[in-house]
Symmetry: C2
Subunit: 307 residues, 2 copies
């Protein structure tokens, strides 16, 4: 019989799911408050920015920032800002990535993409302005008692977003279309394209609280594993799920002749890779015990999701 101190797995899952829902709901209001109001000029740009950010996505990066902040005792008001900045960078990258000159996609999070709903020029400016807003947020709110530490956090997001981070990963992705890639080459692409921002979300969330170098190194490793696992699972879902379930066009990778973990490894081995990364992510958190509970649960959530 389970002791009262040890909740059953079902109770734990229910507790995680209510944590998830509460944070997702609350964070939507945070984003809505931090984005320019739709009636402030230039209205159309501000409306398109809100369209591209609000009502959408699982908010995986913000959730990782919140969970890392819980591990380091960070104030919610600080992790909200860090999470919002990361999510704005992510949202801008999706708007630009969907444009005709990149992936040319018409559906995102179950809605027409920004350039379809508005127009291409507006989508270009939406992405540009969301990136500026991300840095504006990090420079407008206190994130640390030490301003020098806050400057380091701004640098961290800038590096993760730029040519040696996310934007660089997209450039590697562009160069890889129609080319045979090895698994290590594919991994390099994803470590930059999606991994850099996922690691930044975790580290920024943690750095809103008390985090020493050893803790940050462990979280960097955890972020590396869940970031790659996230991508492997994405590839599996893209090859197996349908458009209605994903909320974005399914089978795009195969259609665009893009190498994926499924095309390189096969579905069975790709799933095994995701399971191995999942296990390593959880092992990295062992030293932190119950404080890392939400990060463990998010690793489960990322690997076991169906969309």
């Amino acid at each position: 019989m389970l002791s009262p101190q040890m909740p059953s797995p079902e109770m734990q899952l229910a507790d995680f799911q209510s944590w998830l829902a509460a944070h997702q709901h609350r964070f939507e209001n945070v984003l809505s408050r931090l984005l320019p109001a739709p009636d402030i000029a230039p209205q159309r740009l501000h409306q398109a920015m809100r369209y591209s950010v609000l009502d959408g996505g699982k908010r995986v990066r913000p959730l990782l920032a919140f969970a890392a902040g819980e591990l380091t005792g960070a104030a919610q008001a600080r992790t909200d800002i860090a999470a919002a900045a990361v999510e704005l960078i992510h949202a801008y990258s999706l708007v630009h990535d969907d444009m005709p000159c990149m992936d040319d996609d018409v559906l995102r999070r179950g809605k027409p993409t920004c350039h379809v709903e508005y127009d291409e020029a507006t989508a270009l400016l939406v992405g540009d302005a969301l990136q500026s807003l991300a840095f504006q947020l990090l420079a407008s709110h206190p994130l640390s008692d030490d301003p020098a530490h806050q400057i380091d956090m701004i640098k961290l997001l800038a590096v993760a977003s730029g040519s040696r981070g996310m934007a660089g990963g997209q450039a590697i992705d562009l160069a890889s279309v129609g080319k045979p890639l090895s698994v290590p080459e594919l991994e390099q692409m994803h470590i930059h394209k999606t991994g850099a921002l996922i690691r930044a979300a975790i580290l920024l969330g943690a750095r809103c609280g008390q985090a020493d170098e050893a803790l940050l190194a462990a979280l960097e490793r955890y972020g590396h594993c869940v970031g790659l696992a996230f991508q492997v699972v994405d590839d599996v879902l893209d090859s197996e799920a349908d458009t209605a379930t994903l909320g974005k066009t399914a089978g795009k990778d195969a259609e665009n002749d893009k190498p994926t973990y499924v095309t390189l490894l096969g579905a069975r081995e790709a799933k095994q890779m995701a399971a191995d990364l999942h296990r390593e992510a959880l092992e990295t958190l062992t030293p932190f015990g119950a404080r890392a509970q939400r990060l463990c649960e998010l690793a489960d959530f990322i690997v076991l999701r169906k969309y």
Copy 2:
């Protein structure tokens, strides 16, 4: 007869021109050093970033930052970083602005535009990565003895770049094509589209040194005047000069049915407006005497230029 303490106008001009040339030359090396090397992966992206930033332009914004820094006794190493960050934002905006979904221009600074020399997807990423790099620079180098002050400087550039600054001005510009605008509406567009970044260059340069609120307010006013004058002169040149002289396609505004100071006011009145703004810019600097000499000379340079 002129005293030895008062150099002749010819000597002053020669002195300014050698200041200009020396700073332009030196700054080219600064930018080259701060941009990712062309042999660092992803190479094509880094090469395209360098292509879009180096060997180009009059560097008006950096020169304004240097001149403002001279007024406030700023260290050159600091104004170099501030100037580079502003110039990277400016360069990214040109790359995106030239794309087919915006102005669809093929020539910039006498060279094929980025999307013509590379491709559209690369141009999109070049702009995105240059913006990240601008904030990375401001967060990677000491700009002030007080880190809290440095965070304010980062915020200043973010606001000037975003939806209430430069990107917002471009959105107003998009919305104005083919519409009758009043002169105040046109002014609002330019105050954002080009003015925001020009004011940011001056204020960031000044804030690298010792600047009190009164000084910053005067510089903001100076920046407002030279920013608008810059645009009025641009409109006059676009209507009168030829493509070879400009290094970019002449007559684009009329062709695109964009309202300009020349179409709204006529060439004669537009020139008078530039002259009035020039005079007001110089008056604003009067209290600062010889320390503001370079800023005065730059106001002359901006209004009297032929390309």
